[in-house]
Symmetry: C2
Subunit: 99 residues, 2 copies
């Protein structure tokens, strides 16, 4: 498994309005090669959003980082930060990792 | 629920060696007020590590950010990045959010 962390400046919409605006995008993400899950993150106070993703492997993670970074840039979003990580499963199991 | 994202430059240990070195810290994190879970992240190639945490509320998240940032600084770690987010549960459910 390879974890991907995205965050970027974001001015809204938030909450249920965001959910309505992004539902089609969310459904399309389920079809991405190697995609396992995404937690959608948002913070109105600091004006940021992003996501934590799990992919089956690094090739899938890197392909998604390239695709999603280009899509966000098309939306006019700058200051995008995307990182890929392994998960330390031994430590994460101690700390009740979900799933 | 409030999600916390930490990442910072990290030169090791990684993998099972990291798990042995950090087991006591992991167990102590389970005792933090409002703590729900942590996914431990590491990337040997880029020399980074961090974690994705869930807390019950923002007060618990902010208290942990302050405590853990100070602890990492004591370890000599600089370039620490810590962000707190809400989770968009409607979108995350579409994308198979674990837990």
């Amino acid at each position: 498994m390879r974890l991907v962390q995205f965050d970027f400046p974001y001015s809204g919409p938030f909450g249920e309005e965001m959910a309505r605006a992004m539902e089609g995008l969310a459904r399309s993400i389920n079809e991405e090669p190697g995609f396992l899950w995404k937690i959608w993150t948002e913070d109105r106070a600091s004006g940021r959003a992003g996501g934590i993703y799990a992919f089956t492997d690094d090739a899938a993670a890197q392909a998604y980082i390239a695709k999603h970074s280009a899509r966000l840039a098309e939306f006019g979003i700058t200051g995008i930060r995307a990182l890929a990580f392994d998960v330390n499963e031994t430590l994460s199991r101690i700390n009740n990792m979900p799933g």
